[in-house]
């Protein structure tokens, strides 16, 4: 009986050790993913000089490294369960265009900066990579946290960004939910708002 107990204990410790190693590796991978992503963003900001070129490059970057379907579903809140697939596809398409338009242009102020990664926290397949944008001008650094998800296929994708304490997808979700709440959960109204915002 004692042998069985000792054997079980050994197995438990060994598996715990393996889990910790795997988690540490995951942290390193998530960190490397964010580092790669930041370098690509800075490259776009420095090499793409027109808004159209920047937006096209950002769209490619998002399609490759962010799970836009997952983000779009999150930003719709509970409404996502009540709308048709067709409406969701229309929403996802408009949402992607909005994200590209808004953030490709908002980020232009950060072209000469560097990103320093400070650490990684993990919960299951979710990783929060803490970083700081260091300004060449001597302006105080800005904290940016990257919410990265390890997919079932082992690849990493960006889910959300937290700038100065604000989660961007969360902010979009609260804004979209508010529009829906104020318009009888009518998805058409939200789609019209998005369309108008993109066209402006």
């Amino acid at each position: 009986m004692k042998y069985i107990f000792a054997l079980l204990l050994c197995f438990s410790l060994a598996s715990l050790q393996m889990t910790q190693t795997a988690h540490a590796d995951d942290g390193l991978h998530a960190r490397a993913f964010v580092d790669m992503l930041a370098k690509q963003i800075i490259s776009i900001l420095t090499t793409k000089t027109t808004a159209t070129a920047r937006e096209a490059a950002f769209a490619d970057l998002l399609d490759t490294h962010a799970n836009m379907r997952r983000i779009a579903r999150f930003t719709l809140g509970a409404t996502v369960r009540t709308i048709s697939d067709k409406d969701f596809m229309r929403f996802q398409n408009l949402f992607r265009q909005l994200v590209v338009k808004v953030y490709a242009n908002r980020l232009t102020d950060y072209r000469d900066e560097t990103l320093e990664i400070l650490g990684v926290q993990q919960k299951g397949r979710n990783f929060i990579v803490a970083s700081q944008i260091i300004f060449a001008t001597g302006r105080p650094p800005i904290n940016v946290d990257w919410w990265v998800i390890r997919k079932k296929n082992g690849r990493y994708s960006l889910f959300d960004l937290r700038v100065l304490g604000i989660w961007l997808a969360q902010e979009q979700r609260e804004t979209f939910t508010s529009v829906l709440r104020n318009n009888g959960s009518d998805i058409e109204v939200l789609l019209q708002h998005l369309q108008k915002q993109i066209s402006d």
């Binding site: 799970n67 997952r70 579903r73 999150f74 996502v80 909005l98 338009k101 808004v102 908002r106 926290q121 993990q122 919960k123 979710n126 929060i128 803490a130 904290n143 946290d145 919410w147 998800i149 997919k151 079932k152 889910f159 937290r162 100065l164 304490g165 604000i166 989660w167 969360q170 902010e171 609260e174 804004t175 979209f176 939910t177 508010s178 529009v179 709440r181 104020n182 009888g184 959960s185 939200l190 708002h193 998005l194 108008k196 915002q197 402006d200």
Partner: protein, 242 residues
């Protein structure tokens, strides 16, 4: 007497705007049960911002940035006792030490706070208020409210702000109350000037500016309450397929 009349008039305008006859929102945000009224207050605030606060902030920006930094340093230092009390009430010993060290350094070799040698020595500035302390003790922010000329003022945070004024020793020196309120106004103008580009961008790109400001306010407060740390257990669950 004139001030009193203005206050009464302003109150009357708010009440009239609030009683516009429109029905309440059928399904308001649970944090914002008076959303329809608050949206009207927000609209009033936008007019005040357009014609008074933003022009004031733009005028303030004419002052050289080094002088603005000096003014900011001074008021940060004046507020240190309030931050210190709240650090202590929140049981944040290390942060209370930092606040006390900053106050001693900046009040002496920083010439009464106009310079900030403490930051160069590794003692970074942070701010705590009584609203955050109440949050640490579990007091919820509900309900959300919006006060024209001030901004988002959930009852917990608005009450906290009044208690902070009472806690500030400066309030009790000479014309202290006027001094404290003037300090708050200058800091608000300074903050408005700094946030101008961001606010313009958000207004331009948001499909519901009121909801965006509410979200930014709550998220920013949550971040401050947790001193910028992320609680992984508090992150929303992503309960859908990849």
């Amino acid at each position: 007497m004139r001030v009193k009349q203005y206050i009464v008039m302003l109150g009357a305008v708010f009440i009239l705007v609030g009683c516009g006859g429109a029905p309440p929102i059928a399904n308001p945000d649970p944090r914002d049960p008076q959303e329809r009224f608050n949206r009207k207050m927000f609209a009033v605030h936008q007019q005040i911002d357009k014609f008074a606060i933003r022009p004031l902030a733009k005028t303030y920006e004419i002052i050289p940035s080094s002088l603005r930094r000096t003014i900011r340093n001074f008021f940060y230092n004046v507020q240190s006792p309030v931050t210190f009390v709240n650090d202590v009430l929140q049981g944040e010993k290390a942060r209370a030490d930092t606040t006390l060290t900053r106050f001693l350094l900046n009040s002496t070799i920083g010439f009464g706070g106009i310079f900030d040698p403490a930051t160069s020595l590794g003692h970074k500035y942070h701010r705590e208020d009584f609203g955050q302390t109440l949050a640490v003790y579990g007091v919820p922010p509900l309900p959300y409210s919006f006060t024209p000329g001030i901004g988002p003022t959930p009852w917990r945070d608005f009450g906290g702000m009044l208690i902070d004024i009472a806690f500030n020793p400066v309030t009790y020196f000479g014309v202290g109350a006027v001094w404290t309120v003037s300090g708050l106004v200058i800091q608000a103008v300074d903050a408005r000037a700094n946030a101008d580009t961001t606010l313009v961008q958000i207004e331009k790109t948001s499909i519901d500016f009121y909801a965006s400001i509410r979200s930014l306010y709550y998220q920013n407060r949550e971040s401050r309450i947790h001193n910028g740390k992320i609680d992984l257990d508090a992150l929303p669950e992503l309960d859908f397929e990849e």
